[in-house]
Symmetry: C2
Amino acid sequence: MRTTLMRIIFLAIVVTFTAGVPEVKAQEDAWKIGPRTVPASVDVSDVVRESLLKTTTPDVAAAKGLVFTTAKEWKAWAEEGNVPSAAAARALAEALSITIQEDKIAGVNVHHLTPAETAKEHKKHLFVYIHGGAWVRNEGVAGTLEAVLIAAHLKMPVISIDYRMPPKHPAPAAIDDVVAVWKELLKKRSPASMTMGGTSGGANITLASIHRLRDLQLDFPGALYLGTPCVDIDMIGDSRFINEGIDRNLGSWEGVPIEAGVMYAGDYDHKHPYISPIYGDFENFPPTYLITGTRDLLLSDSVRAHRKLRRAGVEADLHIYEGQAHGDYIALWNAPESAEHYAELNAFMLKHLSRPIIPAPTLPTAASKGIEIPKSAGW
Amino acid sequence: MRTTLMRIIFLAIVVTFTAGVPEVKAQEDAWKIGPRTVPASVDVSDVVRESLLKTTTPDVAAAKGLVFTTAKEWKAWAEEGNVPSAAAARALAEALSITIQEDKIAGVNVHHLTPAETAKEHKKHLFVYIHGGAWVRNEGVAGTLEAVLIAAHLKMPVISIDYRMPPKHPAPAAIDDVVAVWKELLKKRSPASMTMGGTSGGANITLASIHRLRDLQLDFPGALYLGTPCVDIDMIGDSRFINEGIDRNLGSWEGVPIEAGVMYAGDYDHKHPYISPIYGDFENFPPTYLITGTRDLLLSDSVRAHRKLRRAGVEADLHIYEGQAHGDYIALWNAPESAEHYAELNAFMLKHLSRPIIPAPTLPTAASKGIEIPKSAGW
């Protein structure tokens, strides 16, 4: 009786909501969706709009066809990206007054990014940055591109981890490197004063590293930054189908991204939380900031991670930008939306990273030194 | 010199990010996107997945072709939805122990929805609900469907406003009705103890009403609920193009939705904040909860509203669900994701609506009345 009532309600509601669309006829597993025209976004800044107007329709077939079979081919592809990325990072660092310094922490290559002036509120903070690049690209200075933007916008010191990558070093090399640096940093800093994060593959490694920290019973950072993370290396998630060919940066999940993921995973099962971190346990994860865009091939990855975090009771803020494809807040770093994103990220970090409540005492200046409050003064 | 440097950085970054996609060749205004296959979502509950598997590909042509030219046709279409909606609302109310009572406030038809038990925390709260239905549908009890779910999930009293609608009453009749009820409610309640909101067209009227309250210098509610709002009645927003034919509830913005919007706007300019509320001023808006889905035709409307609120410094939480089309949290009210949404909404309201800090004193029960703490007791 109760079941019948529920069925009636269900059908009535379905009828109510689908009046503009024809009746359900038969089961099928997938929808064949016809072609469409997607004009340049309207409610975006001039920078984003002009960039969209200048971009021709993404070529899905070309993106899918880009497959490498040898380590040499992968290395050539990585190098093809590393050169302009490193040049851009250096030029941006100069323009934004960020110094980049090479170092080794626990035997791992890192870069220190130091703004000309650190914000007073971030004096005791550190941003542990993990670069993206499909697990394969952005070795060396090339991996500091977004780290420069973060150091400049947040006026916060950044350590960018130059982790080992495939083809030579599949998982868990990258995660091991992050954890090694983290352990060393914990010796001198409180975990709650540091944040960890990055974009795309970097956000994937960030989440995987938190799963690994739990397994090792090590402290978590005070907050996380997930810039359009890949949370699943398999072809799962609505946006991988819906935004195929609409994301001008990624084109398709088939081709380089899926192949790079397989190579990175190595002997791991694709559902292992170190590889596809959505399948891990998110309880007690640090407060997390997420950003993606309406044209992002990995929009669903952010959506899935956000819900998984919220279900675990974690404070997590999801930000989505109209017109943006995968990582456009970096590609279009000079758009107002990019500055807006880093301002939001800064506000999130100021809210969640630990800060001394009592400021350090300000010593009297020479000019104020002689001022004494007379005994007769009332208050 | 500086401009040239910036241009080099920009090009280097663009090259870095678009390596998987062929070189930019020429300007064009719109992308012609080819057909695609969209399988049923994977990372969703069984209820959502089975519902998607049962749904055939939405018929865009049929949705676009649904256009009415006379008031009689519009009324027939409205009635076609009202009958099952009213039946569903009544059945749900019975199943979930919600009483529905007709009333008039300031001459406006309303329904009181009262849960069998009100949560202690919501004793002094009121949810002012504004139903959806493309500004045309859901007159009478039909408009209380989601209000029943809210009363049941939040255990909170709800007043659902049965505002006047086109074809007879275009804007600003609906907004006038909401404001008239609000003014009356303000006589007996603090604005911060009440929330306002609804889904789709209801969220559109909610935002418009806040703009109107500002113009009238009246107090705002303590919080807002925007369920997949329509914030722009014109064909603007990425998702109106990308998710055309992928949203199984709305199909296309062309057809009924755009025609209903035009009829509702009447003599108003489409950019007037009472009609397309995205064009209004969002400063000092109440904290706002937004929900949409990856298959929602109006995903971009939520994205645009969220950013506009954030830019104005308003606390606004955006929630997106994998696999969900426009209003699926109502259509699939028995899915775990629907319960999750209303739990999130409740948490948001508990956080933002005003509540007495000191609870009312609990009188001693008969059993505890005789207990006295002896003078010799230590503590």
